[in-house]
Amino acid sequence: MAKKILVVEDEAKLREIYKETLTEEGYEVVLTDNGRKALTVVRGARVDLIITDIKMPEMHGVEFVTELRNAGFNTPVIMCSAYEQMKDDFDVVNAGIADFLTKPVDIDELVTKVNAILGSPAS
């Protein structure tokens, strides 16, 4: 069975790119467009990795990760932002963030980082 990646991103076009790239690598990809929906997904099914945008409507990325940790999930998370500074502003260690991606995302870098965290697409 393929490892499952949840992508939380409000831009539809970007979601599609993540999906196509990661599917091609052999992962199973689930898409949502905000943090609240993402929480529901995590509660309902096994997720191996979450890639989340930060600036999103309803529940933004940082809020989402905080709630996720509070709910007891320790799923690895890759944060993705247009602001490079976010890396410094956000307390990576405390929030248990596995890695950061800066927009515009380089899909080769994306694949490298995902593989580094998950080891391989298959579980």
């Binding site: 831009e11 076009k13 970007l14 790119i17 993540y18 196509e20 790239t21 091609e24 600036k55 247009a82 602001y83 490079e84 500074q85 927009k103 515009p104 995302v105 380089d106 899909i107 080769d108």
Partner: protein, 602 residues
């Protein structure tokens, strides 16, 4: 009654004395007439006449007294004594009143008067002066040597209403007093027909011993004093006016220069000297054009003279070496009483600091607008950029799977990605600009930054065949800076310099401690390259966002540099000679001594 021989002789002597007195009076008259040509001179002359009148009366009195004494038959020695005393008195009065007339200031006059009265006419312990006028009433303005008890008496006297009486009667009088002194002597001071002040003297002499003659003599001195006082007041007023005008000119913060019809400088105030950078007033009496730098101002004044003193308002620029000074100048004509032009007057202010400030404000304004825009735009731009870049990368992957590896298209997709990355760099720069200035200040030596960043670019410099020299003064005080921001500043400057230089070029970096014009010290860093230089018309634009002369440039490097230096309360300037090189100079305030030393890493 028949006159004896002795009496006749005495009478003859008396007549001789009277003639002498007459002669003295004439002399006094001459003195009074000739001695004063001050503003109040006419008043003094009138007073002089009055004085001679009085003295004549004294002489008459002496004469009639002599007549009386002849009748009583007890003339002789007594009369002669009396008369010689009169003569002495006249002499006294004469010198006293001319002394008073010569006194310049109010206090001189009053002091003289009081001393004369005390020494020559009637002793007194303390004195008070009431000043005012008929209409406004009189108020106590001064007192001399008055004890608490005397003060009470002075108050009691005023309450008794004697003052009003003196004002009405215009003549001196003695009234009984209750304190330590038995007598209060009132002395009116008259200017023309008006009483302008009243002296109240508390005297140990009994009221009945205050004679008609005492009263007359005091009045005489006092009217002389009143005129002198009026005189002193006028003189003081004129002096004050003169002082006031001089102070006005002295304390003007604007420069003021006046030239006469021949173009000679007649006035140049301290602010003017300061603004024009002249350190001595030796320009006064010379032509302004004797200082070559001031030629434009001299020319402007000369033109104004030629046009008959027409008013001009303009800005002048002085250039000396690489220093530029901008003056705001207002020219107007100097007219005499008959409205003839006697010269021209220039009032000027140094606009250089204001112009600089204006430039800075304009720059900061632009930065603020760009910054806000950038913050908002970054996200909106980076998302679509992500989509474009991602899609192209996916397309790339698909192309690579084609039998020929998609070779025909790969250069196109590669170029799209490159362009996307360039847009992204611009956005990054704009976001850099918009950073909100939260600095993580650390106390470090600026040399540390200069060395660290030099290490980063060393390779690039070597590769380009360009030298990199650090001439650093290790004695400079430390500064409070955000190390990573400041590294970015220096990196930008090193990179710009490298891009401006060819093989065999050289970058020299200096650091040192300098003082500004007002004595404040700064850590100064100069980054001097031997590159292409910056054309004059570009010099003012290089700090503006998006100004670039490079095909691949973002034009944001120096605006970021500028923002960071400003946030550190420092200053950055650029000097350049086209074809020779460019120097960027940074000034930063040294860390204050009391600032706590922070632990340093590396």
């Amino acid at each position: 009654m028949a006159l004896d021989q002795q009496t006749v002789k005495s009478a003859a002597a008396l007549a001789g004395l009277a003639r002498q007195l007459k002669q003295l009076v004439d002399e006094l008259d001459d003195i009074v007439k000739s001695d004063f040509d001050r503003p109040a001179g006419t008043d003094i002359r009138v007073a002089g006449f009055a004085l001679t009148e009085r003295i004549n009366r004294i002489i008459d009195e002496a004469r009639s007294r002599w007549g009386e004494k002849m009748e009583t038959g007890r003339i002789q020695q007594e009369t002669i004594d009396d008369l010689s005393k009169s003569q002495e008195e006249v002499n006294n009065l004469r010198s006293l009143s001319s002394a008073i007339a010569l006194a310049q200031t109010r206090s001189e006059v009053v002091d003289l008067l009081l001393n004369m009265i005390r020494d020559n006419i009637v002793p007194f312990g303390s004195a008070a002066l009431y000043q005012g006028s008929d209409e406004m009433g009189f108020a106590l303005t001064d007192s001399w040597e008055a004890t608490e008890e005397d003060r009470l008496e002075i108050e009691r006297q005023r309450a008794a209403g004697f003052l009003d009486w003196v004002v009405k009667s215009h003549s001196a009088m003695a009234m009984p007093a209750e304190g330590k002194y038995p007598t209060a002597i009132y002395v009116p001071m008259k200017a023309g027909n008006r009483v302008t002040g009243i002296f109240l003297l508390l005297s140990p002499r009994a009221v009945e011993d205050f004679t008609q003659s005492d009263q007359e003599r005091i009045s005489l001195l006092c009217s002389q004093a009143a005129i002198a006082l009026e005189n002193a007041r006028l003189v003081e007023q004129v002096l004050q006016m003169k002082q006031y005008n001089e102070n006005l000119v002295l304390s003007l913060t604007s420069g003021l220069v006046a030239v006469n019809l021949t173009g000679m400088v007649t006035t140049l105030n301290p602010a003017g000297l300061d603004i024009l950078g002249l350190n001595a007033p030796d320009i006064i009496g010379k032509s302004l054009s004797s200082v070559s730098r001031l030629e434009p101002l001299a020319k402007l004044l000369a033109e104004a003279l030629q046009s008959g003193g027409e008013s001009v308002k303009t800005e002048l620029t002085f250039v000396e070496g690489d220093k530029k000074q901008i003056l705001d100048v207002n020219i107007s004509s100097v007219l005499d009483e008959d409205d003839r032009v006697t010269g021209v007057l220039g009032v000027f202010a140094d606009l250089t600091p204001i112009k600089l400030l204006e430039q800075q404000v304009r720059r900061s304004d632009r930065l603020a607008v760009v910054g806000q825009l950038a913050a908002g735009a970054a996200h909106e731009i980076r998302n679509p950029l992500s989509a474009i870049r991602g899609n192209i990368q996916l397309l790339n992957r698909k192309l690579q799977k084609l039998p020929d590896g998609g070779e025909a298209f790969l250069s196109r997709t590669k170029s799209v990605i490159e362009e996307v990355d360039r847009i992204n760099r611009i956005v990054g720069g704009m976001m850099e600009l918009s950073k909100d200035g939260r600095l993580e200040l650390k106390r470090v030596s600026f040399n540390q930054i200069l060395r660290a960043v030099a290490g980063l670019v060393e390779g690039n410099y070597k590769e380009a065949g360009v030298g990199l020299d650090l001439a650093l003064d290790d004695a400079i005080p430390e500064v409070m800076i955000d190390v990573s921001e400041m590294k970015q500043v220096i990196l930008n400057l090193y990179q710009n310099a490298l891009q401006a230089m060819k093989t065999n070029g050289k970058l020299t970096v200096y650091s040192g401690l300098v003082e500004d014009a007002v004595g404040a010290s700064y850590v100064q860093v100069r980054i001097a390259d031997s590159g292409c230089g910056i054309p004059k018309q570009h010099l003012e634009k290089v700090f503006a966002p998006f100004f670039t002369t490079k095909t691949e440039g973002t034009g944001l490097g120096l605006s970021i540099v500028h923002r960071i230096i400003e946030e550190h309360k420092g200053r950055i300037t650029v000097d350049s000679v086209e074809g020779e090189g460019t120097t960027f100079t940074i000034w930063l305030p040294p860390a204050r001594d009391e600032a706590k030393k922070e632990p340093q890493d590396g």
